[in-house]
């Protein structure tokens, strides 16, 4: 087993070494944009044998395969329009796209239904190896089954039995990788694309729900409901409500509902004058903060940043932004923040006491 540090060797040297190892049906541990992965020649039965011995008990779980381009991907799987859209729009990136396989890789990598997971890693070194090698490589994480997700080579090699160590021909050491979740797996082989595993990457979901509110109380109740649905996962992200609607639409009412769901029954008033009100609340014994913003009086995006907007986006916090439609581009960019779950709420058609409220989750 050889360990090559990316700092000490050129890409060319590493690629050449990796190619040699893969051709000898041994395994290569390589860094990716998520965690360390382990590669075997996807078309060699012996290589896949070694991989399965290394990984241990798999219970016939399929193993995804990394390719270096859309062109290469099309050689190994049947593309439908959905898969093509994902490839062109989001890849390379931390997404595994499951499609109908063409049975050109080892059959143990495909699922029992004949589907194959394809990955196009956003890591130039890996793409270079695949290009040079000319065949797809396996793209499973480098831990043995049920082991912890590896973000450094110590995670893999410590306590690894010698028999398994001997299966590894090369370890490409890139030090500690940033702790990102594994790839998001999306199955496009069904009628509707299905997210099998939610990873780092979040697909945008724009299902707009429209309801009619007959009174202020109903507007408030909607705010309450939307928080309650999401409250359990609060520790994982910042919940952001972007409210739009005319003066007198009931945005502050909605914010009061949000506050009530967080146990804040009093003191939620219009923040127009002070721009932003902070209301600390307790969630599972953790202090979090409910920020109630009103950007009506702000003139530009720089002002918004001056309010320490970025700090508010910490995980576990809840934000309600009134008049968010004044700065659409700013909040669009906000969507790229991985920690935020954004719900856009639009209040329209104000006639006497009835309003049409539409809301949509936008995942990014």
């Amino acid at each position: 087993m050889k360990i090559l540090d990316v700092k000490n060797y050129s890409q060319k040297q590493i690629v050449a070494e990796a190619k040699k190892v893969l051709e000898n049906d041994l395994l290569v541990v390589y860094p990716t944009e998520t965690c360390y992965g382990i590669a075997a020649d996807a078309q060699s039965a012996k290589g896949v044998d070694n991989l399965i011995i290394y990984k241990g008990d798999r219970r016939k779980k399929p193993i995804s395969v990394a390719v270096s381009s859309l062109f290469m991907a099309k050689m190994y799987a049947d593309f439908n329009p959905e898969a093509e859209k994902i490839f062109t729009n989001f890849l390379p990136g931390p997404i595994t796209v499951v499609m109908k396989g063409k049975h050109l890789v080892d059959s143990r990598l495909e699922s029992e239904e004949g589907t194959l997971g394809l990955r196009l890693p956003d890591y130039p070194l890996v793409l270079a190896i695949i290009d040079e090698f000319g065949r797809p490589i396996t793209a499973t994480s480098a831990n043995v089954s049920h082991g912890k997700t590896p973000y450094s080579i110590e995670d893999i090699l410590d306590n690894l039995p010698r028999a398994k160590k001997n299966l590894i021909g090369l370890v490409i050491n890139a030090g500690f990788l940033p702790k990102r979740k594994p790839s998001t797996i999306i199955d496009t082989s069904r009628k509707l694309p299905l997210i099998v595993r939610q990873g780092e990457f979040k697909f945008k979901k724009n299902d707009t729900v429209v309801i009619n509110s007959q009174s202020e109380k109903e507007t408030q109740a909607l705010g309450k409901k939307l928080v309650k649905i999401n409250k359990n996962q609060l520790a994982d992200f910042c919940l952001v409500f972007l409210l739009s609607g005319e003066l007198g639409a009931g945005k502050t009412r909605f914010a009061q509902g949000v506050g009530m769901a967080l146990g804040l029954n009093k003191g939620i008033k219009s923040p127009t004058y002070v721009y932003c009100q902070e209301h600390p609340f307790l969630d599972k014994k953790c202090y979090r903060c409910f920020f109630h913003l009103d950007v009506w009086r702000l003139e530009n995006e720089a002002d918004l940043l001056q309010l320490d907007f970025k700090r508010m986006l910490a995980r576990g916090n809840v934000l309600v932004v009134e008049w968010a439609d004044r700065f659409p581009q700013f909040f669009q960019k906000l969507g790229e923040n991985h920690q935020a779950k954004i719900i856009k709420v639009n209040i329209q058609n104000i006639k006497n006491n009835t309003r049409t409220i539409s809301y949509a989750y936008s995942w990014h």
Binding site: E216, E246, L247, G248, G250, T252, R253, Q256, G267, K269, S270, T272, Y273, V274, Y275, C276, Q277, E278, H279, R297, L298, E299, D303, Q306, L307, D308, I350, K351, N352, N353
Partner: protein, 345 residues
């Protein structure tokens, strides 16, 4: 006792010097720039704006009071309520001063400043009423862009919130309705200006009339105005505008007056005072004076317009009335949602 007051609770950076209750200087940044229409209305958001101006404002306040920082006894600073990051700037500055010149820090609630600003003495020592002549409990009304509250003043430093707005503040309602009428922002003063030329002939619902508590709500009024404007078929000419402005003003002032009336009727109180920017409104002043006459109690309204807006003189003033309470603290921290009836120490 010479106190330097600092207030950075929201848009305005302000510093003032007071000797006991006498205001020696009161500098508000937005008024330094003479070219601004209607005094400091463009929201200069918080932190950076305060950071750039605070030094200048404090220096100017000390110069106008003709004193040196060494002469000061204490520095009073607003800890809340207000915008968190704006408050931080003033607090950090006060701490720095306190450290450099070995001063005490007196934390002040911004609302208490508004409430007590009627006690200010001008540079000649003239005042409406001296603090030792006051008899408690008394009724206080706070109406500004950010607050609308009825407060029972049990004694200086001890307050109880009797009623407050559940959504928008009265000043905000003025501003937002002005915006709906196309009068720009902030439109409170503009509505008052027009209202003086019209008659309140349009019926708008007075909010919270049926409820027996002392709370306010102005969001329903916004909706009512919206509905009225969309249903109004005739031409919206100048006469309509002045009359409609008069109606809006009348409705807002009435809704405040009705609750205050109820409160004064049910409790025996010794005087009435009011603070906050909306107290500039002439109809409100008139109505408050009428109420005071009705219940035969004296009314004290701050005379200087500067004392009604957000300013630091009222902070220094409140601090000077507080000095016996021994509430000095070095480790002051912001309290963005500080209610007047809460003790933070």
């Amino acid at each position: 006792m010479l106190i330097l007051g600092i207030d950075t609770s929201c848009d305005e950076t302000s510093a003032a010097v007071s000797r006991n209750q006498m205001i020696l200087s009161n500098v508000i940044y937005s008024q330094i720039e003479e070219h601004r229409p209607w005094g400091g209305v463009k929201p200069d958001v918080a932190k950076n704006a305060h950071l750039t101006h605070i030094d200048e404002v404090v220096t100017k306040a000390l110069r106008r009071a003709k004193i040196k920082p060494d002469d000061l006894d204490a520095v009073a600073v607003t800890l809340g309520p207000g915008l968190a990051i704006a408050l931080e700037v003033g607090i950090a500055y006060a701490k720095k001063l306190a450290k450099n010149y070995n001063l005490k820090i007196i934390p002040v609630n911004h609302l208490e400043g508004h409430l007590l600003s009627f006690l200010a003495k001008n540079a000649k020592g003239r005042c409406l009423v001296d603090v030792i002549q006051l008899v408690f409990p008394a009724a206080g009304l706070l109406v500004s862009g950010g607050h609308t509250e009825i407060i029972e003043i049990k004694k200086i430093g001890q307050y109880q919130i009797i009623g407050e707005t559940l959504d928008d503040a009265a000043g905000e309602a003025f501003d937002k309705i002005a915006k709906m009428l196309g009068l720009g922002y902030p439109g409170g003063p503009v509505i008052s200006f027009f209202a003086g030329r019209g008659q309140p002939i349009y019926q708008l619902p007075i909010p919270m009339l049926k409820r027996n508590d002392y709370n306010f709500s102005f969001s329903g009024l916004k909706t009512a105005v919206k509905n009225f404007l969309s249903n109004y078929q005739q031409e919206k000419n100048q006469q309509f505008m002045v009359d409609f402005c008069a109606s809006v003003e009348h409705t807002i002032v009435q809704s405040i007056a009705i609750k205050l009336d109820l409160y004064l009727k049910n409790h025996s109180l010794n005087f009435l005072t009011a603070g906050g920017g909306v107290v500039n409104n002439l109809l409100l002043r008139k109505t408050l004076r009428f109420l005071a006459r009705k219940y035969k109690i004296p009314i004290y309204l701050p005379q200087d317009k500067k004392l009604l807006s957000d300013n630091a003189a009222m902070i220094a003033l409140a601090a000077s009335l507080h000095q016996e309470d021994n509430c000095f603290l070095k480790s002051a921290d912001r309290v963005p949602a500080w209610r007047l009836d809460e003790k933070i120490l």
